[in-house]
């Protein structure tokens, strides 16, 4: 339901301003005549209402339009780029959740200790880093100055001639810095949240009961963690939009050819079909993410489980 609504909304939003500027000012080098022909080809000379209807019809057929910035069908662009970005985002999400939960849980159980305060500060700082800047800093540090990692791209030129193992390693090598940029901030975010959840839970009476039963501290902490994990599960789904925003920046800095970079170029090049499709796709991802998170949470929490 929400997905359908989101799609409709995004189509609406994207078409409204999009139609207002049908003159592709950025392709100024085109001679006027060619431009006119192109316009007719792309159907941009039709009145806005008709364009809108055409587009809707195309969408229902699964045809998401033509990307003017890449000169190929939007579907093709998406098919090529989305998996890459999804890959990057999922790895970052998984790592952020794992490390963030571990860190936050430890902190929550040791609130006030020096370790807790130190990590809280570190988390706060990491959390405050603008995504693009942390990417720049990482790139300068590890790629330019230390030269440990490549500064751009997803693969090196040698990839085509190497064995699949080397190609895989090469890809991983290129993936590290973009992934790290996203993960550092993501971990800080999750850790902060988990710490707060854990702290709330640790103050709850049932923790005292657990101690009173003669459980060892480790077992008490496990009791607390089970209850504290619930809000964080829901959090995972909500990270999707922010991860995507981060991916846009990170991909642009590392010239990593994913969905984010494609959309960025599309907006700069006024490639409305691609932008529109992009909005739909990302909205869908967001909705799917939060839906999955809600579902997981409902299953995990016995209070909301049915029966």
């Amino acid at each position: 339901m929400v997905f359908v609504a989101a799609t409709a909304a995004s189509v609406l939003i994207r078409t409204a301003p999009g139609d207002a500027l049908t003159d592709e000012g950025t392709i100024g080098r085109m001679p006027a005549a060619v431009r006119a022909t192109r316009r007719v080809q792309l159907g941009l000379d039709l009145p806005p209402a008709q364009q809108y209807v055409r587009r809707l019809r195309a969408y229902s057929r699964g045809d998401l339009g033509w990307s003017t910035s890449e000169e190929r069908p939007v579907n093709e662009v998406l098919r090529e780029r989305i998996p890459r970005t999804l890959w990057l985002m999922s790895l970052a999400l998984a790592a952020s959740l794992l490390m963030g939960i571990a860190l936050g849980a430890w902190q929550g159980a040791h609130v006030g200790s020096r370790g807790d305060r130190a990590w809280s500060f570190v988390s706060l700082v990491l959390f405050s880093f603008p995504e693009f800047w942390i990417a720049i800093v990482l790139m300068l540090l590890f790629a330019s100055w230390l030269g440990w990692f490549p500064t751009m791209g997803m693969t090196s030129d040698i990839a085509f001639e190497s064995s699949s193992m080397r190609a895989l390693l090469d890809r991983a090598h290129h993936l590290v810095l973009p992934w790290l940029s996203l993960t550092l901030i993501g971990t800080a975010y999750v850790a902060r949240f988990q710490r707060a959840a854990m702290r709330d839970v640790f103050g709850a009476p049932f923790v005292q009961t657990a101690r009173g039963k003669g459980l060892a501290e480790a077992a008490v902490r496990r009791h607390a963690l089970r209850a504290a994990l619930l809000p964080v599960i829901a959090l995972g789904g909500m990270l999707v939009p922010s991860l995507f925003a981060g991916a846009v920046f990170v991909e642009s800095i590392f010239a990593w050819p994913g969905m984010g970079l494609a959309l960025l170029n599309a907006t700069q090049g006024r490639d409305y079909d691609l932008v529109g499709a992009g909005i739909i796709v990302v909205s869908a991802m967001t909705v799917a993410g939060s839906f999955a998170a809600e579902l997981l949470r409902e299953v995990a929490d016995p209070r909301t489980r049915r029966g």
Binding site: I13, W133, L140, Y189, F193, M238, P241, S242, T267, I279
Partner: protein, 298 residues
Amino acid sequence: MAALGPTGRNAELARAPLSAAPSKRPHTHRALRTPLALTLLLVLVALAAPILAPASPIAQPDIVAQRSLPPSFAHLFGTDSYSRDVYARVLYGARVSLSVASLSVAIALLLGTCYGAIAAFAGGTVDRVLMRTLDVLLALPRLLLLLALSSFRDEVPFTYLVILLGFTGWYGVARNVRSEIQSQLTRDYLHAARATGVPRIRMLTRHILPHLIPVLAVYASLGVAQTIALEAGLSYLGFGVRAPNPSWGTIMHDGFSVVRDQWWLTVFPGLATLLAVLVCNWLGDALRDAFAPEQVPA
């Protein structure tokens, strides 16, 4: 993620205290003193830019001899390719970045509070419709939208950016305000007030509004932090404020193509952004802790 979309941020901001009686005067909390002081310092630095920076941020004194100089005593942060003093640009940039962030957050708070209040007071179908719409709005990717909407203009004027940011950042506030008001509406003290004939307006201002202050205060600080970073990101990608003074992101944008050689063009403004965001986040955290309901000792 400093540049979180509204959905992601909701998690952080959703932890703003609900139904916390503002029983403690926040300024008596020692933990608040440092972040408050730092925030004031930040604002002061921005306002005092002309005093702190001897050079002018837009002057191009000697475009041949003084361009692209690394940091030195004469130019603390170096110069850019137009021989402009980066230190001055960063200081003046504080004004831009901070004002864009504060103004847009102010708009967002206003919009969100109204929306949330209407939903909470109207209840029933109106509430449901408003919330569903909100869900749809929340699903839309903020960054993409901002990029798309900014790409129509070659130059993004200040007001346009502020409005864009403000109009896309109010969703979380609306949700929280609605929850807070809803929880207050069911409280007994309001029934009591109604039973003694207190008019609704008075109920709103004297009874309910004080409970909104914690939510709004936390949201304001964390929101400003988030917006500073978001605006910096947008400007960095090229959709930022240019004239008369650039924001931090725009300075970094100028330096992007030569980031490896002229690192000072991206590192210093970025550092400034980090510090500003850090201070605001710190303040937001401290406010949230200060307003948190009391823990009852065993």
